[in-house]
Amino acid sequence: RGPGGSFDALLAADQRIEPRDDMPDAYRQTLIRQIAQHAHSEIIGMQPEGNWISRAPSLRRKAILMAKVQDEAGHGLYLYSAAETLGVDRSELLDKLHAGKQRYSSIFNYPTATWADAGAIGWLVDGAAIMNQVPLCRCSYGPYARAMIRVCKEESFHQRQGFEILWTLARGTDRQRAMAQDAANRWWWPALMMFGPPDTGEAATGGHTEQSMAWGIKRFSNDELRQRFVDMTVPQADKLGLTLPDPDLRWNAERGHYDFGAIDWDEFWQVLKGDGPCNSQRIAHRVKAHEDGAWVREAANAYAAKQAARATA
C-alpha cells in the first residue's frame, strides 16, 4: 500500500498501522503499555526457568533449557524494538519495570519448585501464552504483529519441549511421575489466570477489552481464549497420563467445550497486587543485574563515543 493513510481507514480495511502513520495518542499509549508488559514478561520470565539451568538432570536437558531461556531474552529484544517504534526507548521501559510502574505477567511470580516445573511451564504457561499471542500476529500495529509471528514460532517449539519433559517424567520412575503430576497441580490454575479476569459476567471488572478490540489489538475475549486453552489442553493431559486438579472439569457435549470449575480470582488479585510468592524476588533479581551492569554499559558508551570521535578526527 502507499505511504501513510488515515488511521480509521486503515483499521476499517484491516490493514496494518505502521510507525510512520498517524495514530491516536491513546492507541499509541495502549500499545506501548501492552508491548512493554509483554517484553518485560519475557525478561522476567527468564528467571523461573533459569533457576533450573544449573541443576538440569541431564546435559541434553541443560542445553535445551539454556537455549530456551536465551530465546526468551531474544523475544524481549524483539518486543522492546517494537515498542521503540512508538517513540520510547528500552532503558526508559526497563526503568519503569524496575520501579514497579509497568507490569509483567503475574504467572512469573510463582516459584519453580521442582525440575518438572520446567516442563509444566513449557506445556501450560507457554501453551497459554501462545493462545494469547497467536491472534496478536494479526494485530493492527505492524511491528508488534511481525514480532509476534517470530515469537509464536519459537514458543510453540518451547511448548513441545515442555510437553516432552513431562511425557518423559510421566513414563519414568514413580517419583518422576509424582513430580510431573505435582507440577501440573501447581501450574494449572495459574495458567488459566493468564488470560486475565472474565470480560463479562459477575466477576468482570471492566478493563480495556472493548476499546482494544475496536483498535484491532485484541481479537478475542479473555474468556474465549481461556476456553480454547482448556479445550486444547485437556486432551494433552490425557495423553500425558496426568490429572488436572479440577473435579469439575468434564466434556460438555451440548456446548462442544470442556466445562471447568471456578477460578480463585482472589488469588489472582493478591498476586497482581504484589503478594505473590516471588514478586519482590523477581524484581530484586532483575534490578540487581541491571545495577551490577551499570558500569559496563557506561564503559561501552564511553568507548563508542571515543571511537566515533577518533573516526571523525
Partner: protein
Amino acid sequence: SAETAAYVLGLGDDALIYAQRLGEWISRAPQIEEDMALGNIGLDLLGQARALLTRAGQLDGTGRDEDRLAYFRDEREFRCVHLVQQPRGDFAHEMARLLWFSSYQTELYAALAGSADEIVAGVARKATKEVSYHRDHARQWMLRLGDGTTQSHERMQDALNWVSGYTSELFFDDRVSVAAADSGIGVLPSRLLSGATQFVQSVVAEATLVMPDPPLQNARGGRDGVHSQAMGYLLAEMQHIARSHPDATSW
C-alpha cells in the same frame, strides 16, 4: 588407553564446568544482548563437553555416557583446571577468564584438528569456529572496558591481574597430556602457550591495559582432581537432582 581417555575427559570437563559457570550469567548480565551472548558461548561449550565426555566414556572402556560422567563422578574424578571452577565474579572477571580460556581453546582445537582420534579431530574442527567467536567476543569487551571509563579500566586491569593466577595450569604438561601427545591424539599444553599469550598480549595492549606481573600464587592440581574450594559446591548444585534419582533412566 587410560591416558588418552583421561586426556579427553579433562578437555571435556574444562568445557562442561565453564559452561556451568557461564549459565549462571543468564538473566544476570549487564544487558540483554549479553544474556544471549554468554548463553550462546555456554551452549557451545556444553556441546563440546557432551561430545568429548561421550568419547572419553568410549575410550576408557567403561561405557559411561555423558550424563553418567557429568552427574555421577565425585569431585576427585574431575580433571578440569581451576580457572573454569572459579565462582562468577563481575563482568570484567568473566571477560578476563573468557579471553584466556578462548585463546587457549583456539590454539588447542587448531592443534587437535589433526588428532589421530577421528572423533576428537571432528569435535575440534567443529569447535574451531565457535571458540574463535568467543575469543573475539572477549576481545571486544576488553577493548570497551579497558578503553572505556576510568572505573572500567581499573576493574578490567584488576580482573586481568586476578586471572593471571589461573592461567599457567592450562599450559602445564602433566603426565596424561604428555602421553596423549605422544600417541598423536592430544597436543602438549605447553605448545599452546605462545600462541595464546600473543593473542592476549595484543588485546591487552590494544585495550590500553598492561600484562600483569607473574602472580605470587599459581593454581595447580585440577588435572589430578585436586580442585579449588568452589568446585565441590558447583558439583553439589549441578549433580543434586540427578543424584537424587539414582534409578531414573531417562529425563
